[in-house]
């Protein structure tokens, strides 16, 4: 067992956690039990202790989304200067319209396009195919939004099922309109979760975008790209200035408040800094293989991890950066300490359960620890084995780890563990609040943010305190 995982929580043992898991699964039919059991385990401290990236069990009330959600909501949607067409029926684009908080700079409809573009498939499009319609709408989009740098075509389920050839339409249109038109075959039925949508989108960027532009200004040894930050609640606007403060040039952001041409020129940077490993490690590997760009994972949640990460990043650079990093840490340490001094007394000893997406179930563990809180359960909607390998050392020994948890499982674990706070998504939020348990949405920062980097931590701390200590919780039990 690794050093880190020797953190213990009183009352939680491998046996007690396994008993809790077994009890939660008692109600399941045999087949479901057999399928779900390998996805739930006490933290063994190293390795991936649960099975992951498998099909969702039908009927279990999963929180997962689909490949389209991963493509539109995560990778493509945040690129601000492109028109993103939800190709197929009206719903998918409507549900994902403005609901992920990837904030963007620019003028809506002029230089940024955080809107809902759809081909709004009708019966006849299913019967006769939608390729012609797609061609027409690409022309219309180009005419009505002349400053759009490109168009992505994100396929919804029917497109793949009826055998449309969006790749060929996109290729011709791209040539005729003289802008990149990127076809992305991210139909929701592909794969088992959002994750395949990330992968497909990464592949599409590889095939159509990367290497097609170059920066006009001369290269510098400090050129980096920020990968896997989607600017939820303005996270990028907190991270970018910090990276600049330590002397780095942030040449491109993937993809929060992103710009297509800068993404296209990322192959010239010296280092890729990746925050959300799950959704973008594929491209980091591609750029490493093809262009020899090294990449490093970092964690900008909470002062302890920010400090560690800044030093880790500095290792890739010369003394100039190393000195600046130390100066920056010295500057922010007292500011962060003041935040901790304010909030920690009210949060000390409190417990948290997490159930989120890409990186937060492990990345935020230490930010809670900075506030004196212990994470007693964690899991992911769409992680893979390598995510769980990275999670085990962060979590205390024997705490429960869950993959693609069903609502029933979460509810049972919460009943048993009675955490002081749950950090999860909108579908879970109100269920647990009805149980009288404080909650923060950890996908969307509950309409707050940023939470990343030094500017984010004071907001994170304030929000966690507000959730845990709101006086409204005292009113839950009526006096009569």
């Amino acid at each position: 067992m690794s050093e880190k995982a020797k953190k213990k929580v009183e009352g939680i043992t491998m046996e007690s956690t396994q008993a809790m898991i077994d009890a939660a699964m008692e109600i399941y039919p045999d087949k479901a039990k057999k399928k779900r059991a390998p996805h739930l385990a006490p933290n063994a401290g190293e390795g991936a202790c649960v099975k992951s990236n498998r099909k969702t069990v039908p009927g279990i009330m999963s929180a997962r989304g689909c490949a389209y959600a991963g493509a539109k909501g995560v990778v493509w949607g945040p690129i601000r200067d492109m028109v993103h067409v939800s190709h197929g029926p009206v719903g998918c684009g409507w549900y994902s319209w403005g609901t992920r908080r990837n904030l963007v700079t620019g003028v809506n409809g002029v230089s940024q396009f955080a809107m809902q573009f759809t081909s709004d498939f009708q019966e006849k499009d299913i019967v006769y195919g939608g390729d012609k319609k797609l061609r027409t709408l690409l022309e219309e989009a180009h005419e009505l939004f002349p400053l759009a740098k490109g168009i992505s075509v994100l396929s919804e389920c029917p497109v793949g099922l009826i055998g449309d050839d969006i790749n060929s339409v996109a290729k011709t249109a791209s040539k005729d309109l003289d802008i990149p038109v990127i076809p992305c075959n991210c139909e929701g039925f592909r794969g088992v979760s959002q994750s395949l949508g990330h992968h497909i989108s990464n592949d599409t960027i590889r095939d159509h975008i990367i290497g097609t532009r170059e920066f006009r200004e001369p290269e510098s040894p400090y050129d980096i790209a920020l990968i896997g930050d989607y600017n939820i609640g303005g996270d990028v606007w907190s991270v970018k200035p910090l990276l600049e403060e330590i002397g780095l040039n942030v040449k491109a952001v993937w993809t929060g408040d992103g710009e297509l041409e800068k993404i296209a020129a990322t192959h010239t940077v010296k280092l890729n800094l990746i925050h959300c490993y799950r959704s973008m490690n594929y491209m980091c590997r591609v750029m490493e293989e093809k262009y020899g760009i090294p990449w490093v994972e970092f964690n900008f949640f909470g002062p302890t991890k920010i400090r560690e990460s800044l030093r880790k990043i500095a290792e890739y650079f010369d003394d100039y950066i190393k000195e600046r990093v130390e100066a920056v840490i010295a500057k922010y340490d007292p500011i962060m300490q003041a935040v901790i001094d304010e909030y920690r007394p009210r949060l000390e000893g409190k417990t948290v359960m997490l159930y989120v997406g890409g990186l937060r179930p492990r990345h935020t563990v230490n930010a809670y620890a900075d506030l004196g809180m212990t994470v007693v359960g964690s899991g992911y909607e769409f992680a893979h084995g390598d995510d769980y390998e990275r999670t085990s050392p962060e979590m205390p020994e024997a705490t429960v780890i869950y993959d693609d948890a069903s609502e029933h499982e979460l509810e049972q674990f919460v009943h048993e563990l009675r955490p002081d706070l749950i950090g999860s998504g909108i579908k879970e939020k109100y269920l647990f609040q009805k149980m009288g348990i404080p909650f923060r949405q950890m996908h969307s920062w509950d309409y707050s943010g940023p939470y990343h980097a030094y500017n984010g931590f004071p907001i994170f701390a304030r929000d966690i305190d507000m959730a845990v200590n709101s006086p409204t919780w005292k009113l839950v039990n009526a006096p009569f």
Binding site: A32, T56, V90, Q122, F189, I426, M435
Partner: protein, 487 residues
């Protein structure tokens, strides 16, 4: 071509280009191009059928909405309701994936039914479809029959199911299809010759305002009419926070829904959201069948009360007469702040008719009326309302247009305010006018879904919201010398 020649540099959009295009998209020229669109839909004001089906399903006791299709669809519908109501929305899917496309979705459906039935113990599962099974042509009737024969669910367990293809109609049609199937399933074999429950069956339609449901029930109680509110979401999506999570906190009792076929009167106040259901009810339900517009404003509420009083042989109670008087008093007191103001409206058909009715009653002008999924019949009905009032003159109706079209209208032919849902906030901001969130969904304000819009009280609520906002704007924007104590 050499590698060097192929180099394209990163470019910035010049500021003057941004300025130029920013002005251009507000122009008449742009509006014409925008309205010439044939294929591209931008910012549509409607969702797909299954969303409506899920809302209907949540309105019944112990009912678990069950999506036959991809799990991502279910997550989208659920999160939409979570955000609008700020409430849980438990629903499952059978998580169809690629192999479903090859082999069909029967295995997923059966496994899903078995798990959901065992784990979540619903009294009924309401099945509806998303795109995938619709495209591959899954045969739900057979699949469900097979599920019963395999013993996955008991033979008599209610499993209503609706085909709700997303490439046809909107959430409103999905609501209708699911409600129809639920009523067909629950009332099957329940019709008893000569029996009359003495009750009113009320269909509120795709209405995501829990306050409205409570208001209907209050009004009926005031008059003393026993009733079954069908697809009653008032408790499902407005449950108390008391430390206990209840997966099924409310909904129309299944027994009452089953007995609704023997009702005295069945009334829909949402003709557009219950077209098919009401058509079937007319053929199959006992008693009288009445369809009338959603009671927005005084006159439509009068019509509702008079109909109810007549059909049930009751007098309209003094309390409601007084309430009417208070509404008229409020409207008269406030008329000067709204009279003559121009409004742009968008939303679902039944609500749109309600907005127009209310605004005309106030002497306001429903100037741009847009429905992004509507029919000729709707257009005619709206036009008739406009034609019947001097305040309807010059007002225009746009059917099957979207909010990007409406943005062009706001920029070229301005109004004083917009009525719609959260999705209109960008265009309203661009047009520098307030947006009144009376429709669905509301993602960016709290508790508005608890404020009833129907009936006399609803008229007071809408009026108060609108007029005070206009007064706020005056206070916030007027010169110092015109800033005064009274308004």
């Amino acid at each position: 071509m050499t590698a060097e020649a192929a180099v394209k540099y990163v470019t910035e959009i010049p500021e003057e280009e941004v300025t130029r295009v920013s002005e251009w998209i507000n122009s008449e020229e742009y509006k014409e191009k925008n309205f010439a669109r044939q294929a591209l839909v931008i910012n549509p004001a409607h969702a797909c059928q299954p969303l409506g089906a899920e809302l209907a399903a949540h309105g019944f006791e112990g009912t678990l909405p069950f999506v036959h299709g991809s799990q991502g669809c279910a997550s989208y519908y659920r999160s939409t309701f979570n955000r609008h109501f700020r409430e849980p929305a438990p629903a499952v899917s059978d998580a169809m994936t690629e192999d479903g496309a090859v082999f069909g979705g029967q295995n997923n459906l059966h496994e899903g039914l078995e798990n959901a039935y065992t784990i979540y113990k619903p009294k009924m599962m309401a099945i509806f479809t998303s795109c995938m099974p619709e495209v591959i042509g899954d045969d739900l009737t057979t699949f469900i029959k097979n599920a019963r024969n395999k013993g996955i669910v008991p033979q008599d367990y209610p499993l209503p199911y609706a085909n709700t293809p997303s490439f046809n109609g909107s959430h409103v049609h999905g609501y209708d299809a699911m409600l129809l199937s639920i009523l067909q399933t629950l009332t099957d074999g329940k019709k008893i010759e000569g029996r009359c429950t003495g009750k009113l069956n009320l269909i509120a339609g795709f209405d995501a305002n829990t306050g409205n449901y409570r208001e209907y029930k209050r009004i009926l109680k005031e008059i003393g009419i026993p009733n079954t509110l069908l697809a009653d979401i008032s408790e499902s999506f407005d449950s108390p926070l008391d430390g206990t999570y209840r997966a099924y906190p409310g909904g129309t009792p299944l027994e009452d829904a089953a007995d609704s076929i023997n009702g005295k009167v069945t009334l829909t106040v949402a003709p557009y959201a219950s077209t098919k259901t009401f058509g079937w009810i007319k053929e199959n339900f006992s008693g009288k069948h009445i369809s009338m517009p959603t009671p927005f404003g005084v006159a439509k509420t009068d019509q509702l009360l008079m109909t109810l009083a007549k059909e049930f042989g009751k007098a309209i109670p003094e309390s409601l007469k007084a309430e009417r008087g208070r509404a008229v008093d409020a409207m008269t007191d406030a008329h000067q702040y709204i009279h003559g103001k121009k409004f742009a409206l968008y939303g679902d058909p039944d609500y749109l008719i309600g907005y127009v009715t209310f605004l005309l009653e106030m002497g306001a002008r429903p100037y741009h009326i847009l429905c992004s999924k509507g029919t000729k019949k709707l257009e005619k009905e709206l036009q008739a309302l406009l034609d019947a009032s001097p305040y309807g003159a010059g007002c225009k109706i746009y059917i099957n247009k979207d909010l990007w079209h409406m943005r062009s209208l706001l920029m070229t032919d301005p109004v004083d305010a917009v009525i719609g849902d959260t999705h209109g906030k960008f265009m309203a901001r661009d047009a520098k006018v307030p947006l009144f969130r009376f429709g669905f969904p509301i993602f960016d304000r709290v508790n508005l879904h608890r404020m009833p819009l129907i009936g006399y009280q609803g008229a007071i609520n809408m009026l108060t919201t609108i007029c005070n906002k206009f007064i706020d704007i005056r206070d916030e924007t007027c010169d110092d010398r015109n800033f005064e104590m009274m308004r």
